[in-house]
Amino acid sequence: MSAVLEPTDGAGAAAVYCAWCGGARTEGEHAACDRRLATVDPPRHCPVCARRMVVQVDPVGWTARCSRHGESAGQNGFSWPGDEAKRELDP
């Protein structure tokens, strides 16, 4: 099960950063990052601005709060919006 991190600034901001390493999605290889997000890690960086987020994990889910783009939440695993290849890794 996974959740999609939706930018909450209402401006339709493009999600351009890797939620695991915080690097630009267009630069470098992020397959390993996506595997971690699909299995054992919640998002740590805001995909819109790359800021480190305050993340709370509980037994069934997680919440992640970006000081600029608000809070998102999910259950087990993280799904990158629109990334079909990543979604195939999800249980």
Partner: protein
């Protein structure tokens, strides 16, 4: 290849170590020595199934078929002053994990979520060297709130304790206290430099003397040798803990161990079998890292290889499988979940 060629014989008798373990551990209930544990860890991979099968027999004989299910939650995340090299919550490393506190309502909700899975244990964890007065007060209030709404045993993991804090936690009704030795005494200085293995040992002795159950395990895959892994198993046996949680390293970014490899599945499973043969009567729990190291199939093999307890759901900063997957696995394996009023 014979056992003699692979160095997997008992030093005393020259017999194959699994044959010795069958008599010594299964029949007499005596855990393996350090040399014997090492011999198991050195078994060739084509004997893994045999080792797991024996470990399962030992678990069934000395512990029974029930599985103890537990949930855990982080009350205080990040900002820890200690330098445990595996931990993303140390404030001394450039980790992406930021400090966070869980409020009481969410703590109680986490306990409710855990109880819904059939779990009998709920462990409150804080990333600290040891609790200060503020944390102890939050724990006290949190436990009272959980007890008012949820029928579950409460455990705590709050780092190193003073005698006064041990007594306070016992008086709060804490059922079990977790404090991992993490690794062999000889390897500990390579893992933590801000406190000693002996300081952890001292806390565990106070916990036991106060009447709380002792939960103490560690992490496999932190650069220890097989000899040190065997040393750790025997040191745990000497402690005689009620529970041993077995974690497998998740190399976390920013930590000194970020560069280490995820432990290999076969290596991890042989370790599971070896630890069961060293600790025939202890609750042996699958904890963090099994998702990366073992996957779904490996988790089943572990449950059929000596493990008799699991953490379900998420961990402290990492995610686990959905609890339903583990509960389905236990049903498939025909392993009943331990009830709250049972004692393993």
């Amino acid at each position: 290849m014979t056992a003699v060629e692979t160095g997997t014989t008992s030093e005393d008798t020259g017999e194959d170590v699994l044959a010795v373990a069958r008599e010594q551990v299964l029949e007499r209930g005596e855990g393996l020595s350090q040399e014997q544990v090492l011999a198991v860890l050195q078994l060739p991979s084509d004997r893994l199934s045999e080792a797991l099968a024996l470990a399962h027999e030992v678990r069934m004989r000395h512990c029974g078929p029930e599985v103890e299910v537990e949930g855990i939650v982080s009350l205080k995340t990040g900002g820890c002053p200690e330098d445990c090299h595996f931990c993303s919550q140390s404030g001394l490393f450039e980790s992406p994990v930021r400090a966070a506190w869980l409020d009481k309502d969410r703590l109680v909700e986490a306990a409710k979520q855990t109880a819904k899975t059939g779990a009998t244990e709920f462990c409150i964890v804080a990333a600290v060297r040891g609790p200060d007065a503020k944390l102890m007060e939050q724990v006290r209030a949190g436990i009272a709130a959980i007890r008012a709404e949820v029928d579950i045993n409460v455990a705590c993991s709050l780092g190193m304790l003073t005698q006064e804090q041990v007594d306070e936690l016992a008086a709060m009704g804490v059922h079990r206290y977790n404090h991992n030795l993490e690794t062999a005494r000889s390897h500990f200085p390579e893992v933590v430099t801000t406190h000693s293995w002996e300081e952890r040992w001292d806390t565990l002795q106070m916990v036991r003397a106060a009447g709380m159950e002792v939960c103490c395990g560690g992490i496999v895959g932190m650069g220890e040798t097989l000899d040190q892994r065997a040393e750790f198993a025997v040191q745990l046996a000497e402690l005689e803990p009620d529970e041993v949680p077995l974690n497998f390293l998740i190399p976390n970014p920013g930590t000194p161990f970020a560069h280490l490899e995820v432990p290999q599945g076969a290596d991890a499973l042989m370790t599971v079998a070896a630890f069961r043969l060293a600790l025939p009567r202890t609750v042996l729990r699958f904890a963090g890292g099994r998702e990366l190291t073992l996957g779904d199939l490996g988790a089943e093999q572990g449950m059929l290889g000596g493990v008799n307890a699991i953490i379900v759901g998420n961990y402290l900063t990492n995610l686990g499988r959905p609890a339903e997957q583990d509960l389905d696995m236990l049903e498939t394996l025909k392993m009943p979940i331990k009830a709250l009023n049972d004692t393993l």
